[in-house]
Assembly symmetry: C2
Homo-oligomer: 128 residues x 2
DNA sequence: GAATTACTTAGGCGTATGGCTAAGCATGAT
DNA sequence: ATCATGCTTAGCCATACGCCTAAGTAATTC
């Protein structure tokens, strides 16, 4: 079940920045050098390198030095964990949403009308 | 294509925190009150509320007040944009990766063995 | 109506993030 | 050898983040 995966932290955080997503999108069209990647981004190179650093730390890109230029490319399956978490989560959501929505709506309605002394009944514990 | 979508920033950033992901996971089993959600998280309530706030800002959860308790539940299709971006991206990656990987590997190999005086040949400029 | 409960608001604190400039290497070209 | 290029390191700054305590407000309970 993955208690809390620190890798996912890095992954999602890395994706949470437009510059970094743009770099990934650009990189999807093929490897590129640092300065090439930095060109469209209107920021000083060291700042930009910071972004690359995070992408690499998150395992989203791989870089290697070739002469004095550093070539960056995408890491093959780096998106898999994120995609995996998201799709699992969505599967749960869609499965449960309507059921519980109905349940709670009904519950609230009952409470605001009747004020049962019991407080809240045991939550349904959806089969686990 | 989405030049840079600020919504995605919020979405991914919200997902980049273990507490917030845990809340979502928990919430996938059904709606819950703030204090119920906060219970397993060993932090002061205001701190925890900050996380809920971000989840709501990101559009991942919806909350409404019922008496003095606030009920939180998942927002139906909130994950879709993130999932969408990721899967599109992955589609691009897998399409290009091997092609360019081969190209670059071959290129580097040639250079480190022969050191051609030409410098780097024109990169392939993938169609665009 | 007074106490309890469940949030909420206000404000503070330390660290991380995202940006900058200015030097500092290496490598490649002349 | 010299110079230009391409990245790297070092250091600074402002803001945002994640956490806290303390005090406030609104709804239930007694």
């Amino acid at each position: 079940m993955a208690k809390h995966d620190p890798h996912l932290d890095d992954l999602f955080t890395a994706l949470g920045d437009p510059t970094r997503r743009a770099v990934l999108a650009r990189l999807a069209r093929g490897p590129a050098s640092v300065s090439e990647l930095a060109a469209p981004h209107a920021m000083a190179l060291p700042s930009f390198m910071g972004h690359l650093q995070k992408l690499e730390t998150a395992g989203l890109i791989e870089t290697r030095k070739q002469g004095r230029t550093r070539i960056c490319r995408l890491a093959p399956d780096a998106l898999a964990p994120a995609l995996d978490w998201l799709s699992k989560q969505r599967a749960l959501w869609s499965g449960r949403l309507d059921r519980f929505d109905n349940y709670v709506t009904r519950l609230n309605d009952a409470r605001s009308q009747k004020e049962p002394p019991h407080g809240h009944p045991d939550r349904p514990r959806p089969a686990d």
